[in-house]
Subunit: 299 residues, 2 copies
C-alpha cells in the first residue's frame, strides 16, 4: 500500500487528504492547526506524526499558501526533503512562480528526490470529491511515482512538460483569466444595475449569451443570492494575480487587464472583505456607484 504525506489541511488540502484515504492510500496529514490534524484522524488519516513517517513515504503532497510556505516545509535543516527516502516524489500544489518550481526541482534532485510541479484547480468541492484539475510538469519518473496520488485526487491531469515550471506557468495563465473574469462579472453585473437590469436578469440572460464565462456562471449566482461564504476568498487574488504580474514584469510583458483586475481585488481586501468569497469583488463596484446588492448585509 502506498504511503503518502500531505502538508496543509486547509480548504483544499483537507478534501484532497480525504480523497486519498478513500482511494486506499495510507495517508499522514500535517497542518499548523492541530484541530485540522485531529479532524483528519477522524476521516481515516494515520495517527502517527507525518514527520515520524517521512522516511517511509512514497510521496509527499504540499498544499500550502505560497512559495515561502512551500520552501519552509521542504527545505532548510529540518525540511522534509532531508528526511524522505531517495526516489520518493514531492507534489507541489501551491500557485508559485515557474522559476520557484524549477529551483525546488533542482533542490529535490540534490536529495535524490523526484519533484512534480503540480498546481491544482477546481475549488473545494472538487477537492473533496477527488476531482481536481492538475496542471503538471516534471520528469516522466516523477509522473510515474506520483500516479497513485494523482489518481486519488484528480479527474484531469494535464502533462505540460518534462521539467518543473510549465505547470506553474499554465496555472498563472489560468489564474490571470479567472481573476479577470470574476472582476469583469462584478463590473458588468453592477453596470447593468445602473441601467435597471436586476442581478437575476443579468445572470439569466448573460449566462446564455456570448458574454458568459466559466467564472461568471460560478460566481454571479453567489452575488444574486447574496451568499458570500468563502469557497474561494478575495485574498487569493492579490496573491495569484500578483504572481502573474511579477512573472509578466520579469518578462517585460504588459498586462493591463490583469493589472486592472488586481486593483479591484485589492480594493475589496482593503474594504475588509479579504476573507469573503471572491464574488464579493462586486461590492467594490456597488460601493463606488451607491448600488445595493442582494443580501441583507451588503452595501
Amino acid at each position: 500500500m502506498a504511503k503518502i504525506g500531505i502538508v496543509g489541511l486547509g480548504s483544499m488540502g483537507f478534501g484532497m487528504a480525504c480523497s486519498m484515504v478513500r482511494a486506499g492510500l495510507e495517508t499522514w496529514g500535517h497542518d499548523v492547526n492541530p484541530d485540522a490534524v485531529t479532524a483528519f484522524h477522524a476521516e481515516g488519516g494515520q495517527t502517527s506524526t507525518l514527520h515520524a513517517a517521512a522516511p517511509s513515504l512514497d510521496a509527499l503532497v504540499v498544499v500550502v499558501l505560497n512559495a515561502a510556505q512551500t520552501k519552509a516545509v521542504l527545505c532548510g535543516a529540518d525540511g522534509l526533503m532531508t528526511q524522505m527516502r531517495p526516489g520518493a516524489v514531492i507534489l507541489s500544489c501551491a500557485t508559485v512562480p515557474p522559476s520557484f518550481a524549477h529551483e525546488m526541482e533542482a533542490e529535490a534532485e540534490k536529495h535524490g528526490l523526484l519533484y512534480l510541479d503540480a498546481p491544482i484547480s477546481g475549488g473545494t468541492v472538487k477537492a473533496a470529491e477527488g476531482q481536481l484539475t492538475i496542471m503538471a510538469s516534471g520528469r516522466p519518473e516523477a509522473f510515474d511515482a506520483a500516479r497513485p496520488t494523482l489518481d486519488a485526487i484528480a479527474a484531469q491531469v494535464f502533462t505540460l512538460g518534462d521539467h518543473a515550471g510549465p505547470g506553474s506557468a499554465m496555472k498563472s495563465v489560468n489564474q490571470m483569466l479567472a481573476g479577470i473574469h470574476i472582476a469583469a462579472m462584478g463590473e458588468a453585473l453592477t453596470f447593468g444595475m445602473t441601467q435597471g437590469i436586476s442581478p437575476e436578469t443579468f445572470l439569466d440572460v448573460i449566462s446564455r449569451s456570448a458574454g458568459t464565462s466559466w467564472m461568471l456562471e460560478s460566481r454571479a449566482p453567489r452575488v444574486v443570492s447574496g451568499d458570500y461564504d468563502a469557497r474561494s476568498s478575495v485574498d487569493i487574488w492579490p496573491k495569484d494575480l500578483g504572481i502573474a504580474l511579477d512573472i509578466a514584469r520579469d518578462a517585460r510583458f504588459s498586462a493591463p487587464l490583469t493589472a486592472a483586475a488586481l486593483q479591484q481585488f485589492l480594493a475589496a481586501s482593503g474594504m475588509g472583505l479579504g476573507a469573503e468569497d471572491d464574488s464579493a469583488v462586486a461590492k467594490v463596484y456597488a460601493r463606488n456607484a451607491r448600488l445595493t446588492l442582494p443580501g441583507k448585509d451588503t452595501p
Copy 2:
C-alpha cells in the same frame, strides 16, 4: 403574407434578410452598396425598391452600424418613419445607448408606429442560419407585430421590458463582457507564450479549465490558426465599448476593466488592424512583447 423591409445588408443584415426570405416573408432589402442589393435579389429578395414598398410594409428591420445611421434611416424629411403605415413595427438592431432607443420609440409613436428595441447577438454564421439571439424590449403590441420577423431571424428572444431601452442596456452589458473576454484571451495567450506555453497548448488546456469563456473558445482558435479574416472586426469594439463607457460615465459608474480593454482595441485599430477579426487584438500584446504569433503575416 407579411411584408418586411430591411435596411443594411452587411455581414449581419444580409444573413438576416436571407433568413426572412427562407421563412416565407416577402422581403425588401436596401443598402448604400448597390452590389449588396443585387446579391439579395439573387437570394429571393423583392426587386422593387424598399422606399417604394415602404407604405405597405408590416415591419422594418434596421441593421446599420450605429445610432447616427439608425436615425438617418428613420427620421428626417425623407426618413422611413414618415412613409410607413400606422401600426407597422420597426425593429432596431444596432448597438445603441438605451436613451437613444427610448428617444426613437417616442419618435415612432408620433407617427403611429410600433418600435422594438432589438439589438442582436450571435455573429454572422447565426445571422445566416436565422439563429440569432435578440435582447428585446418594447410594448407588447410591438412584440406581437414583430413576431413573424423574430421567428425568422432568431433562435432566442429575451423579453426585457415593456418599453425601449432595457434591450439596448442588456446588449451593452453583454458587449462589455464580450470585449473584456476577447482582450483577456489575447493577454493570457501571449503571456503564456512568454512562459514557453504555445498557443495550441493554451487553447487545449484553458478551454477545459476554470479560465475559459465563450469568447475565448470562439476567438483563441483563430489566433492558433493565424486566421484573421474578419467575422467580427476589431473596429466593432471601440464603438461598442465606447457606448458602454459613455453610458457608464453618465451613470458615474467606474469600469476599469472595460476601459483597459477599450485601450487594447484602440491600439489594434491604431496599428491598422481595424478591419481584421477582433481576435487580432492579440497582435497588440505580441508586438509589445516581441512575440511571433502563428500565421505567415503576423508580427
